[in-house]
């Protein structure tokens, strides 16, 4: 037998099987509809796109060498919202000094910020240096953040800071511990020093010099 070419339907008798002998290939050049379960004991190769409207269960290891997109998120360890990773994003932001009393920094040297958001956690880092502190005055904070913090009562969130080139004798000249935090539902990072008397002092323009620079790393829950 050299082959059977059927131009219409192939149909076995009720309860029978259509068999393609070993060494031969069943080639479907158009559509194939499987009303029941399609069992494949060998490998399956698809050159085109597989569109699956129902659920897919993979009992073994799923290896994917291309991009996986999951617009509804990925549920791990459960299917509720607390188990679902529904956001991931990388990007940049521009750190700036923000003043409570007006004025602004005239110019900056390096001024770079990056973030990675995983679920509702934002991990960010920045480095900035003033080159002309201008007329900025009052209590200072770092603004320009990529996301506001979570609105949860009393959830203050802290991070780490490195600061340099501060006027000698200031609360921030390095004699005391410097710390940062974000208040709930806020878009700025506050800077404080433990003032040596058991209290805290907020950073003000008097602790800034022309060339003050700082680095910040903070991870916080986003709104």
């Amino acid at each position: 037998m050299t082959g059977i070419v059927k131009t219409d339907q192939i149909q076995g008798a009720q309860g029978t099987t259509v068999t393609v002998p070993t060494g031969n290939t069943l080639a479907v050049t158009s559509n194939a509809t499987v009303g029941g379960t399609l069992g494949v004991t060998g490998n399956t190769t698809m050159g085109g796109t597989a569109a699956i409207t129902g659920n897919t269960t993979v009992g073994g290891t799923l290896v994917n060498t291309g991009l996986i997109t999951a617009s509804a998120g990925v549920a791990i360890g459960g299917t509720g919202s607390a188990n679902t990773l529904d956001d991931y994003e990388e990007g940049t932001w521009t750190p700036v000094w923000s003043s409570s009393s007006g004025g602004s920094v005239n110019s900056y040297g390096p001024q770079v910020g990056v973030y990675t958001k995983v679920g509702n956690m934002v991990h960010l880092a920045c480095y900035m240096a003033t080159s002309d502190k201008g007329s900025i005055s009052g209590t200072l904070s770092v603004a320009g953040l990529p996301f506001a913090s979570e609105d949860r009562t009393s959830l203050y969130q802290s991070g780490s800071i490195w600061m340099n080139t501060i006027p000698d004798g200031s609360d921030f000249d390095g004699d005391f511990h410097i710390q940062i935090y974000m208040a709930p539902n806020n878009d700025k990072i506050a800077l404080q020093s433990l003032d040596g008397d058991g209290g805290t002092a907020n950073l003000t323009h008097t602790s800034l010099t022309t060339n003050t620079d700082l680095m910040i790393n903070i991870s916080y829950r986003a709104a």
């Binding site: 990388e90 940049t92 409570s100 990529p146 996301f147 506001a148 203050y156 539902n185 878009d187 709104a223």
Partner: protein
């Protein structure tokens, strides 16, 4: 082969009433097909607030430098009621943890 760069605010979110979160996308295209997309973000609140003694000062955020679509969202979201709620919320918080 034409390489183009487009910058657009592809996401403007109003979060917790008064936070306007802006995502600016820089999109690189080759012959009209997107080959790269990167993000830059910032957040806007209606005021910058500070406390001196027992007195609070709320300085309105200057949004004149924002894109028109961002300004429109800010103006729509920051109603008098929302601004009042922001002030009430802020003043109810401790200035330090």
């Amino acid at each position: 082969m034409a390489i183009t760069k487009e910058i657009e605010n592809d996401k403007i979110e109003v979060v917790n009433k008064w936070n306007i979160q802006v995502r600016t996308a820089t999109i690189i295209k080759e012959d009209g097909a997107e080959i790269s997309r990167s993000y830059h973000r910032h957040v806007l609140q209606p005021f910058t607030s500070s406390k001196d003694g027992d007195t609070w000062t709320h300085t309105a955020t200057d949004i004149s430098g924002e894109a028109s679509d961002v300004q429109a969202i800010c103006n729509a979201a920051w109603t008098d009621a929302v601004k009042a709620a922001y002030k009430t919320f802020t003043e109810a918080q401790s200035t330090t943890p």
